[in-house]
């Protein structure tokens, strides 16, 4: 159920169809991997078949001799820095001394034909001495574990604390200690990583590839090639799904390198299996949690040891670890805590951003803990949460003043009406109901962010809006168009979106951390302010009056009984040689300092949600069927209810996959076993339960027209709610996801 509340707005709070839906539904939209450039070379990647080993040599001579081969590149061909990584540039563009995961790229081939390229691939030889493989967090931590990097197997370790946990625990009525584990999850976007690159007439290197953050891609490319960012253009749209898996570099640098070296257009698209082997995935986790409370359920202390499996390198690992730290205390009043957080290297591919970014991992632990505490104390699971949630104005565990948590309280109260078991559908079916709360910060916490965006008033009657956030299917281009339409009070049909292309759009940052509406929308509204103010001055001169005697409505300035449209004013500006493009930068509100031991904790603005999952478990087969899911969200003012509900539904289904069937596994040689849709099944629409999405009326003063964000909020609490529902059905708790049937019976 989506209720389109009675709204005072004209263009927001409205379920306007996505502006790109027509082309997508008709199949006419050209994705970047669909592009065919004339004269383009076909590129392929030569990958390691050893998961951990010392490289003695990579031999390419035979490959270079193949007719039609234009380039065979190894680390020796990298002009500047052989490294990338969103936080620390430690991932080799092409491996040189060691390989650290199965499928790590060793060489690149570009040839006139696919056949020649494949022939060349087969002729490259790599001489690698295998080293013992580190398969898991536990193995990585063993005393004599093989060292994956010179510095050892801990990429980052930090301790964050407050109060006196020992004292609090010793006075507690109840102390529970549990170990929670979550799997590595694959993004499984429909469009695998890929794109094209070419050098244009002006000597600019164009890289058009699926991605999430074009300006950061550009900088990462520039560091590797040693050419200035101004000589590089990155375009990331349209991208066929990302979920975080395209936020760091995938093919961009390889494409750039090949186009730069060959001076020819190049196309590189990973096969599904390459995406499976070498694409990113979600960090696996193991979290030891000890939590204490009073008899009435009031939390006293929280002690966590968090281990996240970063795989062979750090991509977003350090900041993912931060989000897991921030999430482990939930939205709760916890006076005493100690969090010992560790990012661990293994030979399991590379973990990176994935919808929720460390939050689903910690949420599974703390929310499962809350449910078990409620059980043990015989308190209703909703009441125990109502008792512990932070209220607006309170100071949170990370010294942050809580804004607008009223939504969460309302959501929990509403949840009381939805929290019940269904009737079983058959004699072997047992039903259960589970609950969990979601909390996630919008954006990058205390890290400074200055998103810029622009609008251009085109005299012919269009408003062009420009931002670099990427629409990879989540609908940001529609949402941002609605914000601008609302602000300027012009019909949506007059808005033209140009986004995610460094050639046209200012640097708004990327699409990640549920930030695109808040940051991109925020910057666009400032650009609108600037436009309106300058146009007003011009309009005033047209009416020969002072600008404060004009009023503005529906795209027109009014003076007495006369009016002039923004387009006519723009025409006057153009005639006088003035620009009609207005750019503004939004300084994202944040706390100035991160809590000791963290990089970006805390956030200022949080999204909230409550999930209720109703399942049915077959008692003989152990199969869990999610039948109904309710999600009550506080995401601020809802710009487009249908798109927002779509995000929430999608997150729930992806979360159900994570909770029930998805799991990336590696064999004893460190080879991934689940690399395509056959070996890594994801839920399909027929698996979807009935989903009921409700929005709490909410308005975040800091956000554009009161909006917060929505992309990640729903996937986060699914695991804990499913595990809780299954426990309710079968009378036994599970602490490790996914809940495959053979773990139930």
């Amino acid at each position: 159920m989506i209720t389109e509340a009675v709204s005072k707005y004209s263009y927001i709070n409205k379920s306007i169809p996505r502006i790109d839906s027509n082309d997508k539904v008709r199949g006419t939209l050209q994705f970047l991997t669909d592009i065919k450039l004339e004269n383009a070379l076909y590129a392929y990647t030569f990958r390691s078949k050893v998961a951990h080993g010392k490289i003695n040599g990579i031999y390419t001579e035979d490959a270079e001799k193949v007719n039609g081969v234009k380039a065979v590149l190894t680390y020796k061909d990298i002009p500047a820095l052989n490294g990338y990584g969103a936080i620390v540039p430690e991932i080799p563009v092409l491996a040189y001394d060691k390989v650290r995961y199965y499928g790590e790229p060793l060489a690149l081939v570009a040839a006139e034909t696919q056949e020649a390229a494949i022939e060349a691939l087969g002729r490259i030889k790599a001489d690698i001495t295998p080293l013992p493989v580190v398969h898991s967090i536990d193995e990585a931590l063993e005393e004599n574990a093989p060292k994956i990097h010179d510095k050892g197997n801990i990429a980052r370790h930090t301790i964050v604390r407050k109060g006196d946990v020992e004292k609090a625990r010793s006075s507690a009525y109840i102390v529970l200690e549990r170990v929670y584990e979550t799997p590595m999850q694959k993004h499984m976007f429909l469009e695998p990583e890929g794109g094209v690159a070419y050098i244009d007439e002006e000597g600019v290197l164009n890289v058009l590839a699926g991605g999430q953050t074009p300006y950061r891609d550009k900088i990462q490319i520039s560091r590797v090639l040693g050419i200035p960012p101004e000589k590089i253009r990155v375009k990331n749209t349209p991208t066929g799904g990302a979920f975080g898996g395209k936020d760091d570099i995938t093919v961009q640098i390889h494409l750039a390198l090949l186009a730069y070296k060959t001076k020819r257009p190049v196309k590189l698209v990973w096969s599904r299996e390459e995406s499976g082997v070498a694409g990113f995935h979600r960090t696996g986790s193991k979290i030891k949690l000890r939590t204490s409370a009073n008899k009435d359920g009031a939390l006293l202390s929280n002690e966590a040891i968090i281990y996240l499996d970063s795989g062979a390198y750090q991509s977003f690992g350090p900041t993912i670890l931060d989000v897991s730290i921030e999430t482990i205390n939930g939205p709760y009043r916890i006076p005493n805590y100690i969090i010992d957080a560790n990012l661990v290297y293994t030979n399991n591919g590379i973990a990176s951003a994935f919808r929720g970014f460390g939050a689903p991992e910690s949420n599974f632990a703390i929310e499962s803990m809350m449910n078990e505490l409620a059980d043990e104390l015989k308190i209703d699971p909703i009441e125990i949460r109502l008792k512990n949630i932070l209220k607006s104005g309170e100071i949170g565990p990370f010294n942050n003043e809580i804004r607008h948590s009223k939504g969460l309280e309302e959501a929990l109260n509403r949840a009381k009406e939805l929290f019940y078991r269904l009737d079983p559908s058959g004699p072997f079916q047992r039903t259960g109901v589970g609950i969990a709360v979601s909390v996630k910060g919008v954006g990058f916490g205390t890290l400074p962010e200055f998103p810029a965006a622009a609008i251009e008033i085109i005299p012919e009657g269009k408003v062009r809006i420009m931002f670099s956030n990427v629409d990879y299917g989540q609908g940001i281009n529609t949402g941002n168009a609605q914000l601008v339409a609302e602000k300027l009070q012009v019909p949506l049909s007059q808005i033209e979106v140009l986004h995610s292309d460094t050639k046209f759009a200012p640097d708004t940052g990327g699409s990640s951390a549920s930030r695109s509406t808040f940051n991109g929308g925020g910057a666009l509204l400032l650009a609108c302010d600037k436009a309106l103010s300058e146009l007003k001055t011009e309009a005033a001169s047209f009416f020969m009056t002072k600008s404060d005697s004009l009023s503005y409505k529906d795209g027109h300035f009014y003076y007495k009984d006369k009016s002039v449209s923004i387009y006519e004013v723009a025409k006057r500006l153009r005639v006088r040689g003035k620009s009609t493009r207005f750019e503004a930068t939004f300084e994202v509100p944040r706390y100035s300092e991160a809590v000791e031991g963290t990089l970006e904790v805390p956030h200022m603005v949080y999204m909230y949600g409550v999930i209720i999952t109703k399942v049915e478990v077959d008692e003989l087969l152990g199969k869990v069927k999610p039948r109904e899911v309710d999600f009550i969200a506080d995401i601020g003012n809802v710009i487009n209810p249908a798109i927002a509900a779509g995000q929430i539904e999608g997150g729930i289904i992806q979360g159900l996959g994570y909770s029930l069937i998805e799991e990336l596994n590696y064999d004893k040689d460190g080879r991934p076993l689940n690399i395509n849709y056959t070996t890594y099944p994801v839920p399909i629409i027929a698996d979807s339960p009935l989903i009921n999405v409700e929005f709490i009326r909410s308005y975040e003063e800091l956000g554009p027209f009161g909006a917060k964000g929505v992309g990640e909020v729903s996937i986060i609490p699914v695991g804990a709610s499913v595990a809780d529902a299954v426990a309710d059905a079968i009378g036994k708790r599970n602490y490790k996801l996914p809940l495959l049937p053979w773990k139930i019976v």
């Binding site: 056949e115 096969s271 058959g426 072997f428 087969l621 099944p681 839920p683």
Partner: protein, 299 residues
């Protein structure tokens, strides 16, 4: 990775196809719907460089009646079988299984001959074929032979088919009117899921006493198997919870499952028990599906 280049021959008659096959034998691979072959091509595991396309041979696509049997051309698409009034009326257990194969897209292309050719122990049309006492017709230039379904398979992906033979027909029994049946498949999701365990049964009851039970199991041994001990045990016994428990236990004991990413061997045994217990229990309680010989419900 790019697809391997292959040469495709598309004969318009069976005679032409058999002629080609007799010349090329193991150098050419038959392809019907291609739903398995295309995957092999993509994975680069197809040895043959030539394909013998059976899609344009009308003689291989039919469904007809022959006394107490129904005959199905090997290249008949799942879609056609699902729609067939004959099979819906006389051998609906096959429909029940085919309904659960892949997805509509796969059923629009996939053929029953292809399922036999692939010879996966998890092939979903196969358990019903076992208990329909099916016969597989293999034809080569100048001669043909018929093989009982349980003699057709030698192991995973292995059959008695010679390289110059084509599967041309599958002949299935008409089920007895009034008999109960089920096909149950356990997968990790609702469609396009490979069976972890599957079971098919035909149960004939008279006054709640078992006249006969035929029970086959998929994905729990190198080939589909008949649970012979369980079938024998059931004969002439009253259908009650105790009997159901014993049948399911015996059936589970007869399996030789493996552990893979789709389930542990131990779980496959448990699930075999569970799937059979639940399905027979449903029949006992009067909710089972029954052969009616009616022609109105084609699905």
């Amino acid at each position: 990775m790019a697809y391997e280049k292959v040469e495709v021959y598309s004969p318009r008659s069976l005679a032409e196809a058999l002629e080609l096959l007799s010349q090329k034998r193991e150098l050419i691979k038959p392809v019907a719907g291609g739903t398995d072959i295309m995957v092999m091509l993509k994975d680069g595991v197809l040895k043959e460089k030539e394909l013998l396309n059976l899609s344009f041979i009308p003689e291989l696509s039919y469904i007809k009646e022959s006394e107490n049997r129904v005959l199905i051309g090997a290249a008949t698409k799942y879609r056609e079988i699902r729609r067939s009034p004959l099979i819906n009326a006389y051998s609906p257990i096959l429909i029940e299984a085919i309904r659960q194969i892949g997805s509509p897209q796969i059923q629009n292309l996939g053929t029953i001959g292809g399922n036999l050719g692939t010879a996966s122990p998890a092939g979903d049309s196969i358990p019903p074929l076992y208990i329909l006492n099916s016969r597989v017709k293999l034809q080569k230039l100048g001669s043909s032979r018929e093989v009982q379904i349980d003699k057709f398979f030698l192991g995973p992906r292995k059959t008695v088919r010679e390289s110059d033979e084509l599967i041309t027909e599958i002949s299935i029994e008409k089920m007895d009117p009034g008999s109960y049946y089920f096909f149950e498949k356990l997968g990790l999701r609702s469609a396009n899921a490979i069976s972890i365990v599957s079971a098919a049964a035909i149960l004939s009851l008279e006054n709640n006493t078992v006249k006969y039970l035929r029970l086959s199991l998929g994905a729990v041994a190198p080939t589909v198997i008949r649970a012979v001990e369980a079938e024998e045990l059931a004969k002439d016994k009253e259908l009650n919870e105790e009997l159901i428990d014993r049948i399911a236990k015996l059936a589970a004991e007869s399996t030789k499952p493996i552990t893979d990413i789709r389930g542990t061997a131990e779980y496959r045994k448990k699930a075999t028990y569970g799937i059979i217990y639940e399905a027979l229990y449903k029949i006992m309680k009067g909710y089972g599906k029954k052969v009616e010989y009616g022609f109105e419900n084609t699905s």
